[in-house]
Amino acid sequence: MQVAAPARTVAQASAEPALRPPQLVQRKEATYPPAALAERRENTVTLELTVDASGHVSDPKVVESGGKEFDDAALAAVSEWVFTPAEESGKPVAARIRVPFAFRLPPPPPAALPAPSPQGGVPAPAPAEPPAASPAGETREEGPPAKEEELEATVRGRARPRSRGTSDYDVTVGKLSLVPRKAAAELLKLAPGILLTNEGGEGHANQVFLRGFDAREGQDVEFSVGGVPINQAGNLHGNGYADLNFIIPEVVSSLRVLEGPYDPRQGNFAVAGSAEYELGLEDRGVGLQVGYGSYATRRVLALWGPPGASSRTFGAAEFYETDGFGQNRDATRGSAIGQYEGHLGADTTYRLTLQGYSARWHSAGVIREDDFATGRKGFFDTYDFGQGGDATRFSVSGEIESRSGSTVYRNQVFAILGNTRFRENFTGFLLDVQEPQQTLHSQRGDLIDQSTSTTTVGSRGFARTSLDAFGRRHEAELGYFARYDVTDGTQYRIEAATNAPYHVDLDLHSQIADIGLYGDLSLNPLSWLTLRGGARLDLFTFDILNRCAVQSVAHPSQTNPPLDASCLDQESFGAHREPVQPATTSSRAFLPRASAIVTPVAHLAFSVSYGKGVRSIDPQFITQDVKTPFAEARSIDVGASYTRDLPGAALALRTGVFETKVDQDLIFSESAGRNVLGGSSTRRGLLGAARLTGGFFDESLNVTLVRATFDDTGLLIPYVPDLVVRSDTSVWRRLPWSPGGVPLVASAGIGVTFVGRRPLPFGDRSDRIFTADASVSLARRPLKVALTATNLLDAQYRLGEFNYASDFRSQSAPTLVPVRHFTAGAPRQLMLTLEVLLGGGS
């Protein structure tokens, strides 16, 4: 429940020309006390504080209390405000001013429950708006005669989805940004049950494990950023491939992870759940970060947020380059995101977002455990230097939201151009089987070269209205989603000796449409009960042209045999056959979702949720007029949450159990280099999460236990972790020294991940993973110096482990039986970053 309204705060100058009041240049929104949020309490606090000659705040006092929890929130926020100092005859002087804070719940009032908008698994302290229409403040200058000054703020809210219960994690990153994260994908770890791995190198999307799902690179998780979808329909590397590397972590303001298909807004790919990134930049002004670290890693980041504009108006550009920590691991990327949020009158907000991203990298791939054990290969070595990839993504999005009475309307359009190319070799020299019609050859190599270019256009929108009935307020929402993808994908096999393609596996042209319509109700029949739910109807249409449908001819011509050609246009017994095969089909999915949330007493809520999700099929499996066989998931969650304000801290806890059944699971195939369809499966599990936030610390801890099995055999699903523990901790403190009158702030963050032994094929188990990432920083505005260390303990760990057959010619005879392979986890890497933040203004 993030009202999330960046205030436009305007300090109006006094009429006295010789005196200039302090002007706010950097503000931090107050966090809404969780308990008050849960109990739907509003209040107002007025502070009096001194803005010293350097523009910093000192000696804040409560002059009008709103209760301890509100007072503390206001004091914590204002302590980080920065002003341009008051001036008298052009000379900076200290001034004492009054600042009112109005903690207002967002209109329309939501249901009577502690709408969990959790941070990392717990209800989040939502930002309180500064005053919607603040009373006049008083300015008393210390020294010069007191002058009147008025602070005025305007608040504009943005409609947010309502919570779906215990498995709905609305993560406000906040100070947990102090924990080192190399990519925005790592923010997902703030939600329980998530493990990220990567066998494809920097630039390749992370593989996501979520609550017992091996979602590969997003095939089972619906990802979006600012409402713009990220999953690529029809990507040959995996239908739904989602590369989050274009998102600059510093501009992620919040993240909603909904584990399970419980919200009617969730569409295609939301089988395990969904993750929605929201972008924003709190710091106003112009910032520049320059970092240099281990393995010649360089990063330059420019950030700017126009003073006086909303936190959702910003620009960010990143350049990153590394030589990599082992053989063949270099990477280069650049990313830029610009967003502008403006207003049309008092009731309409619009937003325009532009994004561009390009990356290129090499990857080491897998190493056979026996080769590492015998010294034939090093831990960070590679077999095939041809592995790597390229990616580009450019998108534009426009969104407008308006309010008319009690109804909110929002519409958004987006367009995305993307391209990915992957070169991966999982099996070495194993799959190039001699075919009779081919000329004699030995194994030419299993390097796969997959390219996919996509063009996506679409729109989404909704109308949400509130109505009063039976003495309570309820909500109803109708929404739509429309998306059209044109995708061209090819997959080649590359000959190791020449680096030239010797075979075409796939050549697909796909046109895929997805039209979704949903309705969602939020009813409050009783003061302690909220019912939320609705249904979604999705229509998927596929128009596929397989340009390489014929790979062999049963009776090849004696005079013109196809020999090694891939996409055959041949005469078979005199019958001509073109190599292409068009196919069109469509199918629809009906997806009911419902949640019940019970709040029997203050601070405590129970919830139960049920929902059905789908994943559309990979276009290469489309058959003419055969209805699209969706993979369907049915999921149920039961949980409880508890929020409480403690002396000097806010505590939030939650726990729950869940079960998800999938009728067609995805199983990793090393020969295909991606996931392929498997049988039905069931996941049952338990999660727990806690977050404790205080004035100088923030701690998030989550634990997930899952048992994922195939329904037909009862055997464990390989590769998915059954135990994931994650802790994120940050502390910050203003030091007792203020060189030059400017406060010195020290901060530190540490993130710890523990993953139990994952089941592997053939009854095997992987190693455990235990890693710690940490950072320390020292800030004296406008400068900040930070030192980050990933894998602080320098543990030599295997990020991914696989059991399958490969032959990398590391031994004299072919190796054909399944053995252990691994992808190396990164060693300790240090990076020193210098940050400068300049400018700003109200």
Partner: protein, 261 residues
């Protein structure tokens, strides 16, 4: 409390559950027939009535492979390596004295899975199973043969598999129908065993099968020693073809025994 119990239960379940099967390492050895006598020539009578006294018989095994499937007739007719279905392998080469019944261990242990193996393969090669030329002597034999009251025939032979065993392409549209690797792989040898960690796979090679149909009288004289005869090491002539047929016979020559740990 209930959550705690469930957590404990889940943890225990996870520890006790499996994805099925197991990866195993095992010992491997090869030997001659069990009824041979160590240090003694192997004496036997072949199908053509020759009494053969085999003084020397050595075989170079490039590798041993086990497969979960049973090849069906006509299927995968040209594939030397079948991806993803192998259940055992011993990839360290071994020169084995096949007139000795004593197991001679392969230099390195084998690897595999606990799945039921139904087909075995003996790979006869020196450096590369796909090499167009391979001078490695795979079978090295010396002995004498005598038919009824005839004159004893001293013979010797060294057998290789290279271009001397290449099968000419009969169909221009199917130039890859007979790759040389197929000549080097003896398959399908019928077995039924489940490998287990620490067990031993013993391959007994019966050289009597190599000579089962050899007409020793038709072995040409050795140009370097007219007192004895020598196999040509070519795909021609009854003795060579018969010997080569016995060497590559999927039944009667190679016997796989599994000894549990």
């Amino acid at each position: 409390m209930r959550d705690a119990r469930m957590l404990l239960g889940l943890a225990l379940c996870a520890c006790g559950s499996s994805t099925g099967g197991a990866l195993v390492t095992f010992h491997a050895a090869a030997a001659g027939p069990a009824d041979s006598v160590s240090g003694q020539p192997l004496v036997f009578t072949n199908a053509l009535g020759y009494q053969v006294t085999l003084a020397r018989a050595r075989l170079h095994i490039g590798g041993i492979y086990l497969n979960r499937s049973v090849p069906s007739s006509g299927a995968q007719a040209t594939s030397c390596v079948l991806p993803g279905i192998y259940s055992g392998e011993v990839t360290s080469p071994l020169d084995v004295d096949v007139i000795s019944p004593v197991p001679q261990p392969f230099p390195a242990d084998g690897e595999g899975t606990s799945d039921l193996s139904q087909t075995a393969e003996v790979w006869l090669f020196g450096s590369d199973v796909n090499a167009t030329a391979d001078p490695t002597v795979l079978a090295d034999v010396t002995g004498t043969a005598v038919q009824a009251a005839g004159t004893p025939i001293a013979f010797t032979g060294q057998f290789t598999i290279g271009q001397n065993r290449a099968v000419p392409v009969g169909d221009a549209a199917l130039p890859g129908s007979s790759p040389l690797c197929k000549q080097r792989i003896v398959t399908p040898i019928s077995v039924a065993l489940n490998l287990a960690q620490g067990g031993t796979l013993l391959v007994r090679v019966d050289p009597r099968a190599w000579f089962a149909n050899v007409d020793f009288a038709r072995i040409p004289p050795d140009p370097n020693d007219p007192a004895q005869r020598k196999f040509l090491d070519l795909s021609q002539g009854q003795p060579d073809l018969a010997f080569y047929g016995g060497l590559r016979a999927a039944s009667g020559t190679y016997f796989f025994n599994w000894q549990s740990p």
